[in-house]
């Protein structure tokens, strides 16, 4: 298979050099500070979550998008400085989805790969025919070469497009998710074929979704996240739990695959864990409570609020968002009806947040209810002493609430309610949290709470 390839340009792969690349599409920066090289005859895999910029990077290499900054060169020349035909004698592309909704037969589609090698008026040469036939055979598409392309399956179609790229016979081959719609068997077969091309000297850059396959077949991996390179190097140095967590937001274990000796990745679960709780009740006052409410609403969590004094900024924000809010007169005693209403809210909520709660003679009974709430998060931005108008008894009650609650800052509110909701909201953890729960028994909450 390799012996007669010496005359073909693919026999000596080209060097791809990308330095300090930035690409914006429609004003949005898709890639920034990307520097990647691929040596001749190297198989470089691009991994990363959806939207990380893998496809855009491939398109930048193929010249389909122009860099806003930085350069992409192939064998030292910018593709844009070459003629269309010369460029496509250098780089072949297998896009993620090709619209082949018309009835060319498979062979005709593969023949189109020879377009850059042919001159306008001459019939196809022996060389053209050989390349087409070989591409059909190598991709095992020869068996249905005469069928219309719109009548073959999605996986077969993907192999046809790969065959077209192979017929193009270029030193560089770019593949965007070449195994995406293939079954396991054909995934392996396709990547084995690509590996063969690499052994023949082709330089390959491929976006590959499946990390294990990427690890198994690529010489080097480039992990992309949010449009920049997170890590690049041999698979075993890129596929680490740490890189995976920052790229994909997953906790994963990486072990050696006993069969192939390459890293095997097992994703455990998302760092974000369970979905956020559905319903949160917020009691509290002032900008802290308002801020908490805003963050919850932004996170698309159903929120109830109260009791909150009319005219309080928290009441204002709750009203703006159209939340179910229990408003009470400032400094007035909590009526029995209001208290039962609050209890209903507390029961209905998955998590309750007490945010800079002001305690007066009128609402200290509320603290008793809060102390019994199983999933409680307390946010203390202002010292409790400043908020306590009900003396020592209120202070003791509040302290009891704090002990069974998760203490959080406004910024960490989502994380805190998430943990509490998942049942991790034990006081043990609170104690371990050095930044927030410091002087447990030394001084009552008055002393601390300047954490924000």
């Amino acid at each position: 298979m390799t012996g007669d390839r010496t005359e073909s340009p693919a026999a000596n792969g080209a060097r791809i050099e990308i330095s300090d690349l930035a690409v914006s599409l429609g004003g949005v920066e898709i890639l920034e500070n990307v520097s990647v090289t691929a040596e001749p005859g190297e198989f470089v895999g691009l991994v990363g979550p959806n939207g990380a910029g893998k496809t855009t990077l491939l398109r930048a290499i193929s010249g389909a998008v122009s860099p806003t900054r930085g350069t992409v060169t192939i064998d030292g020349t910018d593709l844009h400085d070459r003629s269309s035909k010369a460029a496509s004698r250098l780089v072949a592309v297998v896009p993620q989805d090709t619209t082949l909704s018309f009835s060319f037969d498979v062979r005709t589609v593969v023949e189109m790969g020879r377009y850059p090698h042919r001159s306008r008026f001459s019939p196809p040469t022996e060389d053209d025919r050989t390349h087409v036939e070989r591409a059909l055979e190598r991709t095992r598409t020869a068996e249905f070469a005469d069928r219309p392309i719109d009548e073959v399956s999605g996986g077969e179609r993907q192999r046809v497009v790969l065959a077209r790229a192979i017929a193009q016979d270029t030193p560089v081959l770019l593949l965007d998710e070449p195994t995406a719609s293939l079954d396991v068997n054909h995934q392996i077969e396709t990547l084995e074929l690509v590996r063969d091309l690499v052994e023949d000297g082709t330089t390959v850059v491929a976006a590959i979704h499946d990390l294990n396959l990427a690890a198994r077949y690529c010489d080097r991996l480039v992990a992309l996240a949010d449009g920049s390179v997170l890590e690049a190097g041999p698979p075993e140095s890129v596929l680490t739990a740490k890189t995976l967590e920052s790229a994909f937001d997953v906790t994963a274990t990486v072990m050696e695959n006993p069969a192939t000796g390459t890293p095997a990745v097992t994703a455990l679960r998302e760092t974000e864990r369970e979905p956020l709780p559905e319903r949160v009740h917020v009691v509290g006052n002032g900008s802290t409570a308002a801020n908490v409410v805003s963050r919850l609403v932004t996170a698309d969590i159903e929120c109830t609020v109260g009791p909150v004094s009319s005219g309080d900024v928290a009441a204002e924000v709750a009203r703006q968002h159209g939340l179910e809010t229990l408003e009470v007169e400032p400094f007035a005693a909590l009526s029995a009806a209001d208290r039962s209403s609050v209890r209903r809210h507390l029961e209905a909520a998955d998590v309750t947040v007490a945010a800079d709660l002001e305690v007066g003679a009128g609402n200290q009974l509320l603290l008793e209810d809060l102390a019994e709430t199983p999933s409680l998060v307390v946010v203390d931005s202002r010292p409790f002493a400043e908020r306590n108008h009900a003396g020592d008894r209120a202070r003791t009650l509040y302290e009891r609430c704090r002990q069974s609650a998760r203490i959080a800052s406004v910024g960490g509110i989502l994380e805190a309610i998430d943990e509490v909701d998942d049942g991790f909201g034990s006081p043990l953890e609170t104690g371990g949290e050095s930044s927030e729960g410091e002087p447990e028994d030394v001084e009552p909450p008055d002393a601390e709470s300047t954490d924000d």
């Binding site: 389909a64 003629s83 460029a87 496509s88 592309v93 619209t99 850059p116 306008r120 077209r164």
Partner: protein, 340 residues
Amino acid sequence: MSNRGRIVSWSLGLSVLLVAVVVASAALGPVRIDPVTVSKAMANLAGAGTYDVPATHQTIVADVRLPRILLAATVGFALAAAGTVMQGFFRNPLADPSIIGVSSGAAVGAVAAIAFPALVPIGSIHLPAFVGAIATAFLVYAIATEGGRTPVATLLLAGVAVQAFLGAVISYMLVHSGESLREAVVWMMGHLHRSNWADVGFALPVTLVGVLVLGAYTREMNVLLLGEEDAQHLGVNVERTKLLLLAIASIVTAAGVAVAGIIGFVGLVVPHMMRLIVGPDHRILLPTSALAGASFLVVADTVARVGAFGIPIVPVGIVTAFVGAPFFLYLLTSREVHAL
């Protein structure tokens, strides 16, 4: 390659059909002339012999019928070829040769020349029609081009908008055209009844050269069907090729429309029909569509001219629409027209 064989045999077959249709058409008319005599008269005309043909028959064939028949063939050839290119270009089976406003532009030029001869003192209708057509195509292209790129969808919409605008201009001119209203309307319906050799001398060379150039770009048309980004990856200079295809197809259409008015459905239905028969590969689709379009319009014009099947003599555009529209509906309902 067998593909080459297919192209040659289909083209030859359709060429033979075209010659047969031309001879048959020339034999028909108020004076019936037998096909052998017609052939002899044609040979005399072509200087390929000096056969003995009655002088009246020679005159009827060579001076009366043949210019009209050849013009019909030329226009059919041009419209079907341009329609094939536009359908491929827009990847839309509903595209026709005038999709970017060529016909409307020609109509503006022609109606202006007919209705306001003082304003357009050229004494010719062809020239203002041709110029109007080309100018419109250029205008639509310029509107749709931004930053060196001409998105196909923008081109389509710009074409629709410009056509609507020109439609208003035409209506305005028609309202104020006075006695020349009928002539203007007949022009717009598509007509071949006043054809002469000068018309053929204008339209035929433009069409032949244009279609030959298009023929040299059939592989690009195929590759463009894969989508513009794929075409670029395969080495097609996409924007330059699009400009060239659009320009040549518009010139070819303009040549046909300028001499024959707006003859609908030839450029829409014929490429469709041929695509169903020979497939989407432009290397075979373009020549076969062009040849089939030529035969189709000769037959349609013969019906228009002779008044067959009890149909009175009418402008040919009525015949093509009368036959073409139902046929198109038949295609829509019975075949997979989405498969370009």
